[in-house]
């Protein structure tokens, strides 16, 4: 069924289709409508789930952590300072290996207060052991939520489904709502390896020593370091699971592509603009304009940011002259985190091959500063003539 709705409703529909058992959330703009919609469905009996209107984001994720530990499929959503307020729980969820799915409706973080879109919130959580996927339109939002549950439960690793506040969350677009039966076929019921159960008691997330230790049967049990190593290993392994997920999704829904990246006019491109989320679709307009002038440019949207698909990306960018990274966030004190990640991926696989592109970092749209297509076109044109600067260049800055 095709409908025209906003991005938050697309996310909520995805959650509903996945048969989520427990939802907990705390309002923050621009996330609010996702959870309002879900509360409405739960209250009207259109969705069979428990909806817990908690008193803070810290508690929202706490509810999901406990609910998933007890065997439920759980969901929450947040933005900006809400995500930052959750930070302790964000780390806890991945350390405890709980397949929670959370929508992050990207918004700038305070101070000063700002409710508009950039991606500083989710990027600041990139090192927490969660997977992060970025959607560029409403179809991707709903599809990504569904894929996210499959992937999270296969790997026992939580996922953030990130999409741009307002630009996607509040705008209306047509998209297809996947058929409920097909979702059932795609996503098997949640069967965790262990769930809190009085008939099989266990103490979860206990104090764990640095070193391995014998259990009562004399078997060696992991130390903290082994547990954390496995999180890293399995996060890296999740790239393969993501590819499998994409394939399955394509088979069942007839919609699929590259699991990690979304290329546009990249085949023969000498210069590739790279970004996360909706900006990559706006970049397509700039690319079209430059193509008309005969400049060989393309865009690569990155769907998967963590685990970072470094090999796939390096392969896709191999032999290009320039890689131009447009970012709505910064690793303050250095450069855009995506630019750093791209450079390291390129260095790892292309160092010494002579086919290493230069990387130009642009920062834009911070705190919702309007992104003008004209600026994209002009900066991209400038960057195709060689690296503009080492430091990230801020677009649209008026000092």
């Amino acid at each position: 069924m095709h409908i025209i709705e906003n991005g938050n409703v697309a996310a909520a529909l995805g959650v509903r289709l996945c048969g989520v058992n427990v939802i907990a959330a705390y309002p923050i703009t621009p996330q609010t409508p996702v959870t309002e919609k879900l509360s409405e469905w739960v209250e009207a009996g259109e969705m069979k789930a428990e909806y817990i209107p908690v008193e803070s984001e810290h508690s929202a994720l706490s509810v999901c952590i406990a609910a998933t530990s007890a065997g439920a499929r759980s969901f929450t959503a947040t933005s900006s300072n809400g995500l930052l307020y959750m930070h302790e729980q964000v780390q806890w969820a991945s350390g405890a290996r709980l397949p929670i799915v959370m929508c992050v409706v990207n918004r700038a973080v305070g101070a000063p207060w700002n409710v508009w879109n950039d991606q500083q919130d989710s990027i600041s959580q990139r090192d927490t052991g969660w997977m992060q996927m970025y959607a560029s339109d409403h179809q991707q939002i709903i599809d990504t939520v569904i894929k996210a549950y499959y992937l999270a439960e296969k790997t026992s690793i939580p996922i953030m489904v990130c999409y741009d506040g307002y630009i996607l969350s509040h705008t209306y677009m047509p998209f297809e709502v996947p058929d409920a039966d097909k979702v059932k076929a795609f996503l098997p019921p949640f069967k965790p390896d262990y769930a809190l159960d009085p008939n099989d008691p266990a103490n979860l997330n206990t104090v764990t020593l640095p070193d391995v230790r014998m259990d009562v049967r004399g078997e060696l049990a992991h130390g903290y370091m082994e547990i954390r190593y496995l999180l890293q290993e399995e996060l890296r392994g999740a790239l393969a699971v993501a590819a499998e997920t994409e394939k399955r999704f394509d088979e069942i829904f007839g919609r699929g592509g590259d699991p990690y990246i979304e290329p546009y006019l990249c085949d023969d491109a000498e210069y590739v603009a790279v970004g996360l989320g909706s900006v990559t679709y706006q970049l397509r307009v700039a690319v079209d304009a430059l193509r008309a002038e005969g400049i060989k440019v393309g865009v690569m949207g990155i769907k998967f940011y963590r685990p970072f698909p470094d090999e796939a990306i390096a392969k896709a960018l191999k032999g290009r002259k320039g890689v131009i990274v447009y970012e709505k966030a910064l690793s303050y004190g250095y450069e855009g985190a995506l630019a750093s990640d791209l450079k390291s991926a390129l260095y790892d696989s292309l160092a010494g091959t002579g086919s290493m592109p230069y990387v130009q970092n642009f920062v834009l749209g911070i705190g919702g500063r309007d992104i003008k297509t004209h600026d994209l076109t002009e900066t991209l044109r400038a960057a195709t003539k060689g690296r503009v600067a080492k430091e990230p260049v801020w677009i649209g800055l008026k000092l």
Partner: protein, 301 residues
């Protein structure tokens, strides 16, 4: 009325294995052991960082024979809500949920989540075991550290502020059941848990926990000191059932006797009150006397 449990008819089934990592003479070890007996097998526990985390043992060994979810410091009540939501969603209606947190995890960092859960009427029992300080991190002050007590971060003058009255805060949420208990009166704790276990919404227990290293007394005197707190009228055992306040057990008997042990005896038995002056002690004694004359008056009505 429910018959009082005695040591003779207390169930023999144990949910806490012998040999926990608690300190010798720890009041928590008593309250936890007896409390779990009252809760019974079909219970899921939620525990934040505290002495209880340590008491339970280190991975992969556990001293508790109930399923237990260890959570972050601030999240006990929210996590209990999450477990309950799952039990409802999956139709498991025979399992109980209990949060078991220290006074720091309750009166300070966890209060917001606890208040939120209580306001929503989440049906779990919340136990605050009150050793009157952050013992796990080395005896720092908490919201429930009493005035005058020396702690690691109130080292010279003792805490300057009064103890936060958490049971009163919780009672203000209109709970079906609030109780103040003491590790020195474990059977009173047991009976109160049994009494409220099926009552609606959130139930709150405040348990006074004598702590030898934190309070500065010889481990063998734990029960004695816990009792002194009650016999001096300094810490009262009571319950608030649907808003109705009633002293219980030893505190109830004190009303009949109308005779309190001087609070000085309680203070002098522990090194943490060493900086209290005679003036401070007599001020506290006056406040206790005033509180108790209120109790006597109520009794006469």
């Amino acid at each position: 009325m429910q018959a009082k449990t005695t040591i003779l008819n207390l169930p023999t089934e144990e949910f806490v294995q012998p040999g926990t990592r608690a300190c010798t003479g720890c009041g928590l070890a008593i309250a936890y052991r007896i409390g779990l007996k009252a809760l019974g097998k079909d219970t899921i526990l939620v525990v934040p960082p505290s002495c209880l985390t340590v008491l339970q043992g280190l991975f992969p060994v556990a001293s508790t024979k109930l399923p237990c979810l260890n959570v972050t410091f601030a999240s006990t009540a929210a996590a209990a809500s999450g477990v309950l939501a799952t039990l409802r969603a999956l139709g498991k209606d025979n399992v109980r949920v209990a949060g078991w947190a220290g006074d720091g995890g309750t009166s300070d960092i966890g209060l917001q989540a606890l208040s939120g859960a209580a306001e929503r009427g989440e049906k779990f029992i919340y136990f605050c075991y009150d050793n009157e300080g952050y013992m796990n991190t080395g005896v720092q002050r908490s919201g429930t550290t009493p005035i005058g007590a020396v702690t690691a971060n109130t080292p010279l003058k003792g805490k300057l502020q009064n103890k936060k009255d958490v049971p009163a805060i919780m009672a203000a949420h209109n709970l079906s059941y609030v109780a103040a208990c003491s590790a020195a009166y474990p059977l009173d704790l047991y009976d109160k848990i049994k009494k409220c276990i099926d009552m609606p919404g959130t139930k709150y227990f405040h348990i006074h926990i004598p702590c030898p290293p934190g309070w500065g007394f010889d481990p063998r005197y734990g029960i004695k000191i816990g009792r002194l707190a009650v016999e001096t009228g300094y810490y009262d055992l009571y319950e608030v059932v649907n808003g109705e306040f009633k002293l219980t057990a030893a505190s109830e008997k004190l009303v009949e006797k109308r005779k309190l042990t001087p609070v000085r005896d309680y203070f002098r038995a522990q090194s943490r009150f060493k900086t209290l002056t005679e003036q401070q002690i007599s001020d506290i004694q006056q406040a206790i006397d005033a509180k108790w004359s209120g109790y006597y008056k109520k009794d006469e009505e």
